[in-house]
């Protein structure tokens, strides 16, 4: 591979480190002269400090400093008002931003609200479509439940970018759906480049993450419970609402978590299926970092994103304190 650019010593250093670690384990496994087992976790701890803790601290550092490295809250003010920096410069030049007419730029906040709304819609659709699917799969009369789980996993092996692009050839103006529509005499429709197309792409990608945990929660339920409810005279409807459904809630919660979190930061899908005004927060962060080359504001946006996700996680944990049903895939 001629165009891989990395110093050869880097590989050797890494391999040497790994070999050293492996030798340490092997030695302690073979002879074990009083090596405590908790030592085994140290390489991992070191790895996490270098590749998770320090990078996170870097984001925090850039979020609270300006380009000169001084402490500032301007990056968060820019999140609230994207024209903040410009207006600040205008004031420094002795001009009045009020008269020159750059009002509060709401693009960042709007993108966040739009992302949250899209993620909410995506989660809701996945729940309403996925719950019945999981319920029917877990049905004890239905023997193919575990086969269907595999059938749900298989599409996820196709590269997610390609799967999203494949939707293009279905939704395009000359795509499959429009060809079928015009063949049966219906008018062609504009299916791409709008929020609905982005939503479709999101639901398509995240639906399995809703179905699995719910299916797991339902499949491990003791069937005798619902039988007992029926024996005691409850209708199937009442049995579902009072027995089956409440017991599946941990699965629902973990499904919501697994769909909502990645969908807020959806990246790429809006670019392929969406139009000009469907940018989501993940794309905004990427654009701020790479196209606008503004690490400080980009870090502030990432931090806001993380705080929002942590908040929603804590909220969901409150509903499901044991964190059950998360044992999927």
């Amino acid at each position: 591979m001629s165009n891989m650019r990395f110093p050869p010593w880097a590989i050797w250093a890494m391999l040497a480190g790994l070999a050293g670690f492996a030798a340490m384990i092997a030695a302690s496994v073979r002879h074990n002269r009083g090596v405590r087992r908790s030592l085994f976790a140290y390489p991992y701890g070191l790895w996490m400090v270098v590749f998770t803790i320090i990078p996170l601290l870097l984001i925090g550092y850039y979020a609270f400093t300006n380009k000169a490295g001084q402490f500032t809250l301007d990056n968060f003010k820019t999140f609230w008002d994207s024209n903040y920096e410009m207006n600040k410069q205008l004031i420094e030049l002795g001009m009045d931003p009020q008269t020159l007419g750059s009002a509060r730029g709401t693009v960042n906040v709007d993108t966040l609200v739009y992302s949250l709304w899209m993620a909410f819609l995506c989660t809701a659709i996945c729940l309403f479509v996925g719950y019945p699917a999981a319920l029917f799969m877990a049905d004890r009369e239905f023997k193919l439940g575990s086969t269907l789980v595999i059938l749900f996993i298989i599409p996820m092996w196709m590269n997610f970018l390609l799967r999203t692009i494949a939707w293009m050839s279905l939704l395009e103006d000359n795509g499959l759906i429009n060809t079928i529509l015009s063949a049966i005499g219906l008018p062609r429709m504009q299916l791409m480049y709008n929020s609905q197309a982005v939503l479709l792409g999101m639901v398509y990608n995240y639906l399995p993450f809703m179905v699995f945990p719910i299916y797991n929660a339902l499949a491990k339920q003791d069937g005798k419970l619902s039988e007992a409810a029926m024996d005691l005279g409850a209708s199937p409807m009442l049995t579902f609402w009072r027995v089956t459904m409440p017991l599946s809630l941990p699965g629902v919660i973990s499904g919501i978590t697994m769909v909502f979190m990645p969908s807020v930061t959806t990246f790429f899908i809006p670019r392929v299926l969406g139009g000009g005004n469907t940018e989501m927060f993940g794309d905004l962060i990427e654009r701020t970092f790479l196209s606008a080359d503004n690490w400080n504001v980009g870090s502030a946006l990432s931090l806001i994103m993380m705080i929002l996700i942590l908040m929603s996680l804590t909220l969901l944990r409150k509903v499901d304190p044991e964190g059950e049903g998360g044992s999927t895939i």
Binding site: M4, P55, W157, F160, L170, N174, Y204, F289, G298
Partner: protein, 257 residues
């Protein structure tokens, strides 16, 4: 009646999941370049595929990174799980929190934070940085697959082995490792597939010179994906399908015995 409705509903959802993939596979046999028009059956994209150095290079990088990161993450992660399991309650809780941090971080933040690290430390982004990033997001999954197995284990069986004269190392090898092996294998397979499919984190931790399939597809997406890419993903899809069937058969065979 309800039975037909239930099966029909599941069939519809499967149809929704599979239609884009079927379209993609059909397109890979289309002689024309246009996505919309069928210009006859042809294998020419499959021939082109093996002649394209960019795709072959990206395939090599994707597969080697997936293999290496899965192996390294499995070693570090399994050792970490055994270590964490042997810890006192408080450090154990701390390490598990540490493990959960990357799981709750959105991919894009993980990618960007690693990018900042590499730029900050002036490490040139490329193969090694991408490998390090993949190992980083894989380790927690290995730990979370091995940990439940360790907890299921009867803790006295390890002590019994010691009482019967085994050295701690021998007991680890003969008692703990065989018991947690299913978790280790799950973790390794999970790591491999996660690495194979990752786009966001790779995108931020590599340079345009070292591309895996995902980043290559991304850079081509703006110009329009070439049908050779469809051919490749159809091939990979079939390869993974065969792998899964083989693994499944092995599993059901061992269960029968």
């Amino acid at each position: 009646m309800t039975r037909i409705f239930k099966r029909g509903y599941l069939a519809l959802i499967l149809l929704f999941l599979y239609v884009p993939i079927i379209v993609l596979i059909i397109q890979s046999f289309n002689a024309g370049v246009s996505r919309a028009r069928w210009a006859g059956f042809s294998l020419k994209w499959y021939v082109d595929l093996f002649k394209s150095p960019a795709i072959m290079n990206a395939l090599y990088i994707t597969v080697t990174i997936a293999l290496l990161s899965a192996v390294i993450a499995t070693i570090i992660g399994t050792a970490a799980a055994i270590g964490i399991h042997a810890m006192q309650k408080r450090p154990q809780a701390f390490m598990m929190t540490l493990t959960n941090i990357p799981m709750t971080m959105p991919d894009i933040v993980t990618g960007i934070s690693l990018m900042l690290l590499f730029i900050f430390t002036q490490v040139k982004r490329g193969y090694i940085t991408m490998l390090a990033a993949h190992i980083t997001f894989n380790i927690p999954y290995v730990i979370l697959s091995v940990m439940p197995k360790l907890k299921q284990m009867n803790k006295f069986s390890y002590e019994a082995a010691l009482d019967l004269g085994a050295t701690p190392g021998y007991a680890l090898r003969k008692v703990i490792l065989p018991f947690v092996m299913p978790g280790v294998i799950t973790g390794a397979l999970l790591s491999f597939t996660l690495s194979l499919d990752d786009f966001t984190i790779s995108y931020f931790t590599t340079s345009p010179l070292v591309q895996n399939l995902s980043t290559l597809i991304y850079s081509e997406a703006r110009k329009g994906i070439k049908p050779t890419m469809n051919a490749l993903s159809a091939l990979m899809f079939v390869a993974l399908l065969i792998l899964l069937l083989a693994v499944n058969r092995r599993v059901s065979k061992t269960q029968e015995v």
